[in-house]
């Protein structure tokens, strides 16, 4: 019987398997950042161990670095300690680090692909749940805990039970103005936040094939928000074109050998998945969240739902709690919801294509009075490229704040936070209570919705700008 894409990549990485034990899986690339790695390095030190493969390890600073004044010492002592510790550990154990101020610094999930380190058929891990982003290249990529970070550092392997597989087939084409973000938000509302639990998901179908690599990364990024272990998309010409010429991409004969192998990384026609979901892209519309988890979403054209309309009691209670936290009335048209801050950035939507799209919509407009727009590139490279294309000027002319690279308001570990009850439209991935700052209220949105919302001051789509 044939194999799924996930099974092919998994089987290629099994170092050892034994009855009654998890597989020992080889890890091709281990990405590291300042927050979840300190104890792992400390564990190595206590046990007198080394990093087995520093040459398959890459560190960057992203989670709590400031996006202004990044050339000055970090003001917050806790953040500074974590960043200093990463620098010390990287030096001691010989790990390549892209620190604040370095041209390759940025969000770990933006840096890997842009360096060309993220390639089809790899296993990639990081002490961060959104590692699933890298699955867009046909890699198995997932987040791990601190003990596992230590395990990978010491052994370049992980003990892992083989997950089940699921196919999400998205037929048809996305209508104009509807993006990968709307697609994945629609999917999560459809499945619920636990729908993917225990599965490696393969996204497939016409709408997925038509996505750019940036769009595919947005979809895979949010796999974790519906509980999936990992998300992946079979590599194709779009993938190869994106990788070719990147700094760490294979060259010459290696390139040919790599592509030949990558072309085998597709689900065989006679392979079976443990579970399958089918969606139709052509009916999708701009989609936003109204609640406090990514599965509480609705079409932008709709209204804030009425909790009593939910069939399940648990959904009703969750919706009531969410509306109270979010300060929303049932039945309010989502387009009437006034927004204080628009955040464009994160590993979900902080790549160059995202900034281009945002700039295209904002161009010639002004950010609405009483609204602030924060644009945070996912990496220094993205920032530089955007500036070369003059995007920064479009943003600042409109009245936006143009910032340095990092996670920023996605999780508010640095000073970029919402005030209590401040409302955001955010292109990031989590709308949990307090995620962007204590008491802050987050609506997850796509890039076009974020840009149009900044201009109108209420949740909007670009179509609203034309009237």
């Amino acid at each position: 019987m044939g194999k799924t894409l996930a099974e092919k990549v998994w089987d290629e990485h099994v170092v050892r398997s034994a009855e009654g034990e998890p597989d020992l899986l080889y890890i091709d690339l281990h990405l590291i950042h300042e927050v979840t790695s300190p104890q792992a390095f400390d564990g190595l030190r206590l046990a007198g161990r080394q990093v087995r493969r520093p040459d398959l390890t890459l560190a960057t600073e992203d989670h709590n670095v400031p996006t202004i004044d990044w050339d000055k010492p970090i003001a917050d002592p806790v953040s500074k300690t974590q960043v200093d510790t990463l620098r010390k550990n990287a030096a001691e154990f010989g790990v390549r680090l892209h620190p604040l101020g370095d041209i390759e610094q940025g969000i770990v999930h933006v840096v890997g692909p842009q360096l060309g380190l993220t390639q089809p058929g790899m296993t990639i891990v990081c002490g961060d749940s959104h590692t699933s982003t890298h699955g867009a290249f046909g890699a198995i990529a997932f987040g791990i805990g601190t003990s596992e970070v230590e395990h990978v550092l010491a052994t370049q392997t992980l003990m892992q039970a083989k997950p089940k597989t699921m196919a999400v087939t998205v037929n048809g084409s996305l209508p104009a103005g509807v993006t990968a973000k709307d697609l994945v938000l629609t999917l999560i509302t459809h499945t619920g936040t636990g729908g993917g639990q225990g599965y490696i998901v393969e996204y497939r179908g016409q709408a997925i094939e038509e996505l750019s690599m940036e769009g595919r990364m947005t979809v895979c990024n949010m796999s974790i928000e519906w509980g999936a272990k990992a998300g992946m998309i079979a590599p194709d010409q779009t993938t190869f074109d994106y990788i070719e010429g990147k700094p760490e991409a294979p060259k010459g004969a290696d390139w040919d050998a790599a592509v030949a192998h990558w072309k085998t990384l597709v689900t065989d026609p006679d392979a079976t998945f443990d579970e399958e979901i089918v969606l139709d892209a052509s009916t999708m519309t701009p989609f936003v969240t109204w609640g406090t988890n990514p599965g509480q979403g609705a079409p932008l054209g709709g209204v804030v739902p009425t909790p009593s309309d939910f069939e399940e009691e648990s959904d009703r209670i969750a919706a009531e709690k969410a509306l109270e936290y979010m300060g929303l009335e049932a039945g309010t048209p989502l387009r009437d919801v006034k927004v204080d801050t628009v955040f464009v950035g994160s590993c979900t939507n902080g790549r160059i294509e995202d900034l281009r799209l945002a700039a295209e919509i904002i161009k010639g407009h002004k950010v609405a009075d009483g609204t602030r727009l924060l644009v945070v590139p996912g990496s220094v490279r993205v920032r530089i490229q955007a500036m070369e294309e003059g995007l920064d000027k479009i943003f600042t002319d409109a009245g936006a704040e143009w910032r340095g690279a990092g996670c920023s308001m996605c999780l508010g570990m640095n000073p970029d936070q919402l005030a209590p009850q401040e409302r955001s439209a955010s292109t990031s991935n989590r709308n949990f209570e307090g995620r962007q700052g204590k008491g802050g209220r987050t609506h997850l949105v796509s890039i076009p919705v974020a840009a149009a919302t900044a201009v109108r001051g209420t949740l909007s789509s670009p179509a609203d700008l034309e009237v």
Partner: protein, 200 residues
């Protein structure tokens, strides 16, 4: 990880049930960047009370904790186990442990010995009569014991075979995997040349 076969040490009665990970170590202590030094956060809310059992001089240097049921519930933070170990505990005896806490203990080398609730009570009574006395946790024979003579307490405890084996051998997960280093090396030797590296 150090091998653990048997340990005898001063035992502390912690007469509370449902000691959750926030009580073992509050979140404010999680910002540290090491795996050591968490002892100052251990039971920090309770330790500010001079009457708290750990503040009593007879329990100085204690290394066995005898706690009420449902020990270690709550978050998955590994810091809870580290805090107990950093303080000097080698074993915790309880009638029930939270799953994640028990798993983390096994990973880190802290023995979580699950006994019958009556056994906890008997040890508590014994410690009340003999404050500062020692209790033995023997992993070979899977027994806890205290006292001497006709009133001595000896009873068995539960721990899963795989964890027991790893603790007896002193193997953490990393240690076990490094035992397969030759298999890993031979796997690495077949890695295609076009796969990327971060250092050249």
């Amino acid at each position: 990880m150090e091998k653990f076969s048997s340990h005898t040490g001063v035992a502390v009665p912690l007469k509370r049930s449902n000691v959750d990970t926030d009580q073992i170590i509050p979140a404010v202590y999680l910002k540290r960047v090491t795996r050591s030094g968490f002892e100052d956060g251990l039971f920090s809310a309770w330790r500010s009370d001079p009457e708290f059992v750990l503040n009593q001089p007879q329990y100085e240097g204690a290394s066995v904790l005898v706690a009420g049921p449902d020990f270690g519930t709550g978050s998955s933070r590994e810091h809870a186990v580290w805090a107990l170990q950093n303080y000097g505990f080698k074993a915790v005896i309880s009638a029930r442990f939270a799953d994640i806490f028990r798993g983390n203990s096994g990973k880190a080398g802290l023995v979580a010995a699950q006994v019958d609730e009556k056994v906890v009570q008997r040890i508590w009574d014994y410690l009340d009569e003999h404050p500062g006395a020692t209790v033995t946790v023997d992993l070979e024979s899977r027994t806890v014991s205290a006292g001497e003579g006709p009133d001595a307490i000896v009873d068995s405890f539960d721990i899963d075979d795989y964890t027991r084996w790893r603790l007896l051998e002193g193997l953490d997960d990393v240690g076990i995997t490094l035992g397969h280093a030759d298999v890993i090396s031979s796997f690495e030797s077949t890695r295609p040349s076009w796969k990327p590296v971060t250092q050249h």
